[in-house]
């Protein structure tokens, strides 16, 4: 019984549908990429792959969680040339309201594509503000970077 429980606990530190090798590779690739951007290192798996409710077709949600100051600074950098009254400005206001900077606006499209190619499933990666509506449980932290 203890062994079965131990295995269950171990497996619940892994996102649903990923094996250990995939999760380790994903963690390394994302951490290396994000380190260069200096956004933050609190990176988690969220959504159905963390809550073990994923369907075979579900994507995997990766959130880079940052504090308010970091979020505001990053938002300012990514939307610095936004014109007043534009659709991009509406997108920025939506990011502020939801506390989430989506993949494309965050400049994370290339890493998303790399991960999708590697895993063969859709990936979403975004910057999430601590305490925002997308900063929700359960989450699974990415593994520490291995060298």
């Amino acid at each position: 019984m203890a062994i079965i429980l131990g295995e269950l606990m171990k497996n619940h530190h892994m996102p649903q549908g990923l094996n250990e090798t995939q999760f380790e590779t994903l963690s390394n690739v994302v951490r290396q990429y994000i380190q260069r951007l200096d956004i933050g290192d609190d990176i988690v798996i969220q959504g159905s792959r963390a809550s073990f409710t994923a369907l075979p077709t579900s994507d995997i949600d990766i959130g880079i969680r940052v504090g308010k100051e970091k979020f505001d600074a990053f938002l300012h950098t990514r939307f610095k040339n936004t014109n007043r009254g534009s659709a991009k400005e509406r997108t920025m206001l939506y990011a502020i309201a939801t506390g989430k900077i989506q993949c494309g606006e965050a400049g994370l499209r290339r890493i998303r594509r790399e991960l999708e190619k590697m895993l063969g499933m859709e990936v979403d990666i975004s910057v999430i503000k601590h305490g925002g509506i997308f900063d929700s449980l359960p989450v699974i932290s990415l593994l520490p970077q291995s060298h």
Binding site: G107, R113, E122
Partner: protein
């Protein structure tokens, strides 16, 4: 350095695979997973996780709730003007098939507007379609 990333919110009844095929045919590209590759740029077809049919029609910013958005980025070997003209053509093609499409990018004021196109097809500069025919003029 200018950010040439562009997002286009799209309201269409097509499934994601149908939409991918449509985009690939329109730009003469090829599909890998949910990305359409063109020699000069790449387009990801993304299911909008915030999609809401009700909010899409009732809010001023309804486009934020359209079922899809396209994440578009140029490759290094394309000229700015050609890239923007390609996005303009894609927008007009989407409008031609009856889809709603709204571009959100730093250069969106250089793209045609849907309301203008419905009557006069006004563009900031001359745009040619994929057969080389003029499609839209200032």
């Amino acid at each position: 350095m200018e950010d040439l990333y562009c997002k286009i919110y799209v309201d269409t009844d097509m499934s994601q695979n149908q939409f991918l095929d449509f985009i690939a045919k329109t730009i003469n590209g090829y599909i890998e997973l949910r990305t359409v590759f063109h020699p000069f740029f790449e387009i990801d077809v993304v299911n909008n996780q915030d999609a809401s049919p009700l909010q899409a029609i009732s809010y001023v910013d309804g486009f934020l709730y359209y079922p899809y958005y396209l994440d578009i980025e140029p490759l290094d070997n394309i000229k700015r003007e050609a890239y923007i003209a390609s996005i303009a053509m894609l927008l007009m093609t989407l409008w031609d098939i009856g889809s709603k499409a709204v571009a959100a990018c730093d250069f969106e004021n250089e793209l045609p507007k849907q309301t203008a196109r419905a009557n006069t097809q006004v563009c900031p500069y001359k745009i040619y379609d994929y057969r080389g025919e003029p499609a839209c003029s200032p």
